[in-house]
Symmetry: C2
Subunit: 191 residues, 2 copies
C-alpha cells in the first residue's frame, strides 16, 4: 500500500554523501503540496524519509489516489521523459525529506551512471507491475475484500492514513468505506 524502494534509497543517499553535484536535500512539513497536477516542473524528488500521497483530481474535485509513496520512491521523473504536464499532484502526509535533482542533472546521471540508469528503469517497471493487479483487484471485488486486503499488507493503515485518503485510494466514497469497516467489525468482533 505504501510503496518503497530501499535499493534506490540507499543508492541516492550514497550519491548524496559522496557530494554528488546537483543533488540536494529538502524538507517539507505535513500536508504540503509539492507538485500540482497539470503544471510543469523541472525537478525529480527521491524520498528519503516520510510518506506522500500521489493523486489525480477531476473537475468535480474528486481525488483518486494513485499511490502512497515512502522511502526510496521517486516522483516528478515521468515528465523528464515525455515533456508534458504533470498528471498527478503529490502532497506530503507526514514530514518529508527528499533528495532533489534538476532534470538536467537527472539526465546526466542517466547517461553517465549505468547503475543509476538501471535502478530508474527498474523503478519505472515496478510502478507498472504494481498498478496493474491493484486496479484489477479493486474493480473485481467488493469494498470489504479490498479493506481486508489492505489490512493484510499494511495492518496499521487506519492509524497513519485518514479515512478519506483510504477511500480515495480504493476508489469509493467515505460512506461506503465506513459501511464496509462497520460490517467487518460486526463479523470479526474487532477491526
Amino acid at each position: 500500500m505504501i510503496r518503497i524502494n530501499l535499493e534506490l534509497a540507499t543508492y541516492m543517499k550514497k550519491l548524496f554523501k559522496g557530494g554528488m553535484h546537483g543533488l540536494y536535500e529538502e524538507k517539507f512539513g505535513p500536508k504540503h503540496k509539492i507538485i500540482e497536477q497539470d503544471r510543469r516542473y523541472n525537478k525529480v524528488y527521491f524520498i528519503t524519509q516520510g510518506i506522500t500521497k500521489c493523486y489525480i483530481s477531476d473537475e468535480n474535485g474528486k481525488e483518486f489516489i494513485q499511490e502512497f509513496l515512502g522511502e526510496g520512491m521517486e516522483f516528478g521523473e515521468l515528465e523528464v521523459f515525455s515533456k508534458k504536464h504533470t498528471i498527478c499532484s503529490v502532497e506530503t502526509i507526514t514530514e518529508l525529506t527528499t533528495l532533489s535533482i534538476s532534470h538536467t542533472c537527472f539526465n546526466n546521471l542517466l547517461e553517465t551512471d549505468s547503475h543509476f540508469n538501471r535502478l530508474i528503469m527498474k523503478a519505472l517497471a515496478d510502478k507498472i507491475r504494481y498498478k496493474a493487479p491493484r486496479h484489477s483487484y479493486q474493480h473485481s471485488y467488493p469494498i470489504e475484500d479490498n479493506v481486508i486486503r489492505l489490512k493484510k499488507i499494511f495492518p496499521k493503515f487506519t492509524e497513519v492514513i485518514s479515512k478519506k485518503d483510504i477511500a480515495n485510494y480504493i476508489g469509493v466514497t467515505t460512506r461506503s468505506l465506513n459501511r464496509a469497516l462497520k460490517e467487518l467489525k460486526e463479523k470479526n468482533g474487532e477491526l
Copy 2:
C-alpha cells in the same frame, strides 16, 4: 484505447533492416496466447503490425484488460528488470507481427545503444502516465460516460474489439455494457 508508439516502431524496424543480431521477426494468428500470466519467459516483443490485448485474470476466470497494444508497443519487457513472473497474459486479437529479442540481447542494447535506452525509458514512463488517468476516470464515472469517452478516442471500437473485451477493459460485465449502449442509442438515436 489501442496504444501505439510509432517512434519505437520505426527505430526497431530500422535495427531489424540493419541486420541487428538477435532481433527476429515472428508472426502469430488471431486469438493466439503469446504470454501467459504467472510464468517466466525470456523474450521481449515489439509489435510491428496488428493488435493484442494484455490482461490479468483472477482465480474466478474474470479478465481485466490492462491495455490494447498496437504498433510499436512492447511487451515482456517488465520481466527483464524485475526477474519475476509475468503479471499479464498477452493474446493476439488480429494477426500479429512482432520483432522479438532475447533478454540478453535486450540488455545489451540497453547498455550499448543510448537512443534505444531512452526510447524504452520513455515507453515505460508513458505506460505509467497512461494508466493513471484511465483508472481514475473509470472509477469516477458511470459506464455510459466511459463508453462515450471510448467512442471519442476510438470511434470504431465496436467493430474491431468484441463486446466482452470492451466490457473487460472498462471493468464491467457485458450485461452492464449492453445496458449502457442501449441507453445511448435511445438518447442519441444512433450508437
